[in-house]
């Protein structure tokens, strides 16, 4: 009997709310509106709330760790855009440099219903993540659901937060460009940056894995027309680099920036 009751409460918990506690984090799928309109993109996000003393990881986790993984199962015709990765923090665990998040992070995604969408829908996502502290790593996973009804937008309690998260996502900035030169054991990065910015004050994160040494600090200095810095290569870079995306914040940028170099 007790078993049946436990089972019943478990089923109730799953259908009533999408929050799943696993590893040292709680995951939930939230949206800016509780309703959708055909063909109109809707802002949503996977919310991960990580326990104090623990962290989870960025799209480039660094020397260890694991990028959170998301598998969408959407109704016919619905699409999910690319997952947005907010600016991370740098940390060091067990002597290994990493990039990720502490506390609460929202990984935003645009959901677009098809032109002919109608009726209430349930969207599903399987999410897995890794939480680590100084002493241990514990993986987490959850099957999350998002229920939406058709209709004109009805802002949820998360709408203001999601708007803020979306505005703070790294995006290209006019006049910002990157060149990369292979100098053997190091890569020479040179940056052009728009007037009014101070690249010496930028905080810089390598979004592309295994190109730059994750432990190396990246601080641009002025050299003539451009700004430059020499950064040790990742020991896992094979041959010449072909692509490097950096995320930059601070230094007078209008918002966090992304800049991409391609060979």
């Amino acid at each position: 009997m007790k078993f049946l009751l436990t089972l019943a409460s478990l089923v109730a918990a799953v259908s009533a709310s999408a929050a799943v506690r696993s590893g040292h984090a709680t995951a939930e799928w939230v949206a800016a509106s509780s309703t959708y309109q055909p063909s109109k993109p809707l802002l949503a996000a996977i919310r991960l709330s990580v326990d104090p003393g623990w962290h989870t990881y960025w799209v480039n986790p660094g020397e260890s760790g694991m990028t959170p993984g998301i598998q969408w199962t959407l109704p016919a015709g619905w699409t999910a855009g690319p997952v947005g990765w907010p600016v991370p923090v740098r940390f060091e665990t067990s002597g290994l440099a990493g990039f990720g998040y502490v506390g609460e992070v929202f990984l935003p995604v645009m959901l677009t219903p098809p032109a002919g969408a109608s009726g209430p829908v349930t969207l599903e996502a399987k999410v897995n993540w890794l939480t680590c502290s100084d002493d241990a790593c514990v993986p987490g996973e959850g099957a999350l659901k998002l229920e939406l009804k058709p209709g004109t937008p009805v802002a949820t309690a998360f709408e203001p937060m999601l708007a803020k998260v979306a505005a703070a996502l790294p995006k290209p900035v006019e006049g910002l460009s990157l060149e990369v030169k292979d100098d053997g054991k190091k890569l020479g990065l040179s940056l052009r940056s728009p007037a009014g910015t101070d690249p010496a004050a930028f905080e810089v994160f390598p979004a592309t894995k295994q190109v730059l040494d994750s432990a190396a600090p990246i601080r641009f200095a002025k050299t003539g027309e451009t700004w430059s810095v020499s950064v040790p290569k990742s020991e896992y870079l094979e041959g010449e680099p072909e692509l490097l995306e950096l995320v930059l914040t601070g230094g007078g940028l209008p918002h966090p920036a992304t800049v991409v170099w391609k060979k």
């Binding site: 002493d135 790593c137 020991e235």
Partner: protein
């Protein structure tokens, strides 16, 4: 968690670790006690192919390979072909994965089929090799040269169901060494939990 207030210093440490060993160069000799208290040296196995596996049974990425029986199966398969398989535990006393006095019992309960399970609680072997995570894997050929340094396989997840979908780099390296062929992939980024030095 320590934020990077001392990034220059950390950079130096990581640089030192990065150049601990190099694929293509001789693998440094070492000595460590096995779970029976006997001293084992790499040089005891001169002329043999040697696999080094860094271990912490409490790490979820290690659990992936032991809980599924994958690691024990690899150990059994290759020791059966004359390969020496040394599992090394560099967890310091009081840190996660350190087995204390229960080491022999624990290793037997996990069903290890390794040639030896080495206790390196002072981290000397781990630091000599620049072992970063568990499981970090190394393969040494019959000439004593390092031919592989990196991940066990191609999927950085703690999920056992991913093992079948992965490319196992250790299998590729040891098979190549057994056939006297060059190793296609000699270095990869290892995945797992940081070694608890």
């Amino acid at each position: 968690m320590k934020h990077f207030f001392t990034s220059a210093c950390v950079g130096l440490v990581s640089l030192a670790a990065a150049h601990a060993v190099e694929v293509g160069k001789p693998a440094p000799d070492f000595k460590a006690k096995n779970v029976k208290g006997e001293t084992v040296s790499l040089s005891d196995y001169k002329g043999k192919i040697v696999v080094l596996e860094w271990n912490n049974f409490e790490c979820p990425f290690v659990r992936k390979h032991y809980g599924s029986g994958n690691m024990q199966k690899l150990q059994e398969t290759y020791t059966g072909k004359g390969v020496i398989w040394l599992t090394v535990n560099s967890s310091a006393a009081g840190k996660q994965g350190n087995l204390g006095d229960a080491a022999a019992d624990k290793v037997s309960k996990e069903g290890s089929k390794a040639t030896a399970y080495l206790l390196d609680s002072d981290g000397a072997v781990g630091k000599a090799y620049g072992a970063k995570v568990t499981p970090h894997m190394f393969v040494i050929n019959k000439d004593g040269n390092l031919i592989y340094d990196g991940a066990i396989d191609s999927m950085n997840t703690p999920k056992p169901e991913d093992i079948a979908k992965s490319e196992n780099y250790v299998v590729k390296a040891v098979d190549a060494a057994l056939e006297g062929k060059p190793v296609a992939t000699g270095k990869t980024q290892p995945y797992g939990c940081g070694v608890k030095y």
